[in-house]
């Protein structure tokens, strides 16, 4: 390598080091009540264990409302930490990738310049080979770590997935008491909320965009809910007859009394094939009752309910 080329290469490397060290800050300093790693925002293991023990005691004594308050507090403390850590991570994704690419650009430009300026053929070849290797390395990082997605696309995907998961958690907190949305289930939801804010989560969701089946499944669910059957008020007698029939059905099934089950089905004028499960067929008839109330007197008669 000629002296000139050697000097140019050294200059390029110095500039890169300076660029790296001068890392542009894109986030202002956070107040201490929102600071990453601050004792105010950190939910210590001791605090968590104390709250968890209190929550379990309240559940055992049936104080669901107080348990709910504690459950929600635990969820929000964990959520706060996830949120603060995620914001720091997001700004690092922007900053680090931009810094890496800028440094890479400088080195490439410097090497290209040095290659052009140098006289010896052997040196030219060496510099050109180093330049090719550098370009390949950058492409490899982009391909393997970021699947060639832009930073904006990845951040948008992370934010979208986090919002979806967070809305699910908030909805459950608002509508379900402590014994129907236990903290353990919320814990699983919080783990999913955390992973929604990772590069891996973003890449998976961007891939799922190509999965139209996800959208189709949601449309199918909407269609199914439109087709819901409506239920109507009932009299005390109707409820009692149907309950009695269901209890009787359970007794017949447990004692495998197929003869009696067939007799009831005959009286209800329900045809029975040789391979039919007579108990399931009886259950089907009982389950028609809410929509066809005229069946209830027939069920009462057939099951001999007083």
């Amino acid at each position: 390598m000629t002296n000139l080329a050697r000097r140019l290469l050294c200059l390029v490397i110095c500039i890169d080091i300076l660029v790296g060290m001068s890392a542009c800050s894109i986030v202002p300093t956070a107040p201490s009540s929102l600071g990453y790693g601050s004792s105010v925002t950190t939910y210590s293991e001791a605090d968590f264990q104390k709250d968890r023990k209190g929550y379990e005691t309240l559940l055992e004594t049936g104080e669901f409302e107080r348990a709910r308050i504690l459950r929600d507090r635990m969820i929000n403390r964990i959520r706060l930490e996830i949120e603060i850590n995620y914001r720091k991570f997001e700004s690092e994704v922007y900053g680090d990738r931009a810094g890496f690419n800028t440094a890479g650009d400088f080195v490439e430009l410097g090497l290209a310049g040095a290659t052009a300026l140098t006289g010896g053929a052997a040196t030219k070849t060496i510099l050109a080979t180093v330049l090719t290797a550098l370009k390949g390395s950058r492409l490899s990082v982009d391909k393997n770590w970021f699947r060639e997605k832009t930073t904006e696309a990845l951040v948008a995907a992370m934010q979208s997935q986090r919002t979806i998961k967070l809305n699910q958690i908030i909805d459950k907190m608002a509508n379900l008491p402590a014994n129907l949305y236990a903290f353990e289930e919320a814990w699983v939801d919080l783990v999913e909320f955390f992973y929604a804010g990772t590069i891996e989560g973003a890449l998976l969701s961007l891939t799922a965009d190509a999965g139209k089946a996800v959208v189709d499944a949601k449309e199918d669910n909407k269609e199914i809910s439109k087709q819901r059957v409506e239920i109507f008020k009932a009299t005390r007698e109707e409820i009692d007859v149907v309950r009695a029939a269901t209890v009787r059905l359970g007794q017949l099934a447990r004692t495998k009394n197929t003869a009696e089950a067939k007799r009831i089905l005959d009286e209800l004028k329900v045809p029975v094939g040789p391979d039919d499960d007579v108990f399931k067929k009886l259950q089907e008839q009982i389950r028609k009752a809410p929509e066809d109330r005229s069946l209830i007197p027939q069920i009462k008669e057939a099951f001999k309910i007083k």
């Binding site: 049936g62 129907l180 409506e230 239920i231 309950r243 269901t246 209890v247 059905l249 009752a289 809410p290």
Partner: protein, 99 residues
């Protein structure tokens, strides 16, 4: 299994509708108001889970939640198994389900 329940019904009427479905071998797991519908057609979505053949849940009691109702129900040996806001006689109310 999801069913639709008119939000114009009174609470006792909604309770009886749910009891009849439960009497066929299901158990209420969730109750929530449907997404915005025409103002004169409020409705609720009722979710049930299927029980094994012949099994029945304890009978459900729906009540408007007040500061004393949970303690009163507890005194009668019942526990709160669900609570939330649903349409009752056309208005959103805080309701609890007890067994």
């Amino acid at each position: 299994m999801d069913k639709k329940l008119s939000g114009t019904l009174s609470l006792p009427d909604q309770e009886s509708a749910i009891r009849l479905t439960e009497a066929t071998g299901f158990e209420l797991t969730d109750l929530r108001p449907d997404p915005p519908a025409p103002p004169d057609q409020p409705s609720n979505n009722v979710t049930f889970k299927e029980l094994p053949l012949g099994e029945l849940p304890k009978e459900i009691h729906l009540l408007i939640l007040t500061p004393t109702v949970i303690a009163e129900q507890k005194a009668q040996g019942r526990t709160l198994v669900w609570q939330g806001r649903i349409f009752v006689s056309g208005n959103l109310q805080n309701v609890g389900a007890f067994r």
